[in-house]
């Protein structure tokens, strides 16, 4: 399956700490994207990283991609209570045909 698998399934941290989530996949990809979903809401796009890129930044977000290990990580620095949400990685396969989401990591940031 091309589906990404996030790790951990759930993460609880204190405000101000950093949160790291990982995504592993099985086959070649075109790009990998991270999305956030607040409770009861739709998904919001956070960042896209292409297969020829190794690292991208967006505000307090840092995403890395290691195609040799078929894995990506999302780092949220200086977390805030508003970061509490589920985070999903989504894989676009090399044929550009299938865009598949993983099961997500549920992040809780405690004030």
């Amino acid at each position: 399956s091309q589906q990404g698998e996030e790790d951990p399934q759930a993460l609880s941290i204190q405000e101000g700490e950093n949160a790291t989530m990982n995504c592993s996949y099985k086959t070649s990809i075109n790009n990998l994207q991270w999305y956030r979903q607040n409770s009861g809401r739709g998904l919001v796009h956070l960042i896209l990283i292409r297969s020829n890129e190794r690292e991208k930044h967006s505000g307090r977000l840092r995403v890395t991609l290691d195609t040799s290990k078929k894995s990506s990580s999302l780092l949220i620095t200086a977390s805030r209570a508003a970061d509490t949400a589920s985070y999903f990685c989504a894989i676009l396969d090399n044929y550009g045909q299938n865009f598949v989401f993983g099961p997500g990591t549920r992040l809780s940031v405690l004030p």
Binding site: G42, L43, F88, G96, N98, F99, F101, P103
Partner: protein, 116 residues
């Protein structure tokens, strides 16, 4: 710029009844997606349209689910008859072109279905 609009936001029906969800994508977006998200899981693609043609409906349970996108703009997703396991959030999304170019997908707020 208006986002992806979906209605209704919430629906409760009895099993074997029918339900329809409506989606209006971002203006100018050619590609429209319907995803099913069961509680605690990631979204699963049900069907993908490019303009008014179907690109991928391999995971759509065609015995009970149907979707159409007339005139390449709005779309409706119908379930008839509904089963208990259809309880989920139905997310509509759109993108300007197909994903190969690395464009992002924009999601609506979802339609929450409870089948009792």
């Amino acid at each position: 710029e208006a986002g992806v609009a979906q209605s209704p936001r919430y629906k409760i029906i009895e099993k074997r009844q029918s339900v329809a969800f409506w989606c209006n994508p971002i203006s100018g977006h050619a590609t429209l997606y319907w995803y099913q998200q069961i509680l605690g899981q990631g979204p699963k693609l049900l069907i993908q349209f490019q303009n008014n043609g179907v690109v991928d409906d391999s995971q759509l349970p065609k015995d009970r689910f149907s979707a159409e996108r007339l005139k390449g703009v709005d779309s409706t997703l119908k379930i008839q008859p509904a089963k208990l396991e259809d309880s989920a959030v139905y997310l509509c999304a759109s993108s300007s072109i197909r994903m190969r170019a690395g464009n992002t997908i924009y999601f609506g707020e979802g339609s929450w279905l409870t089948v009792v």
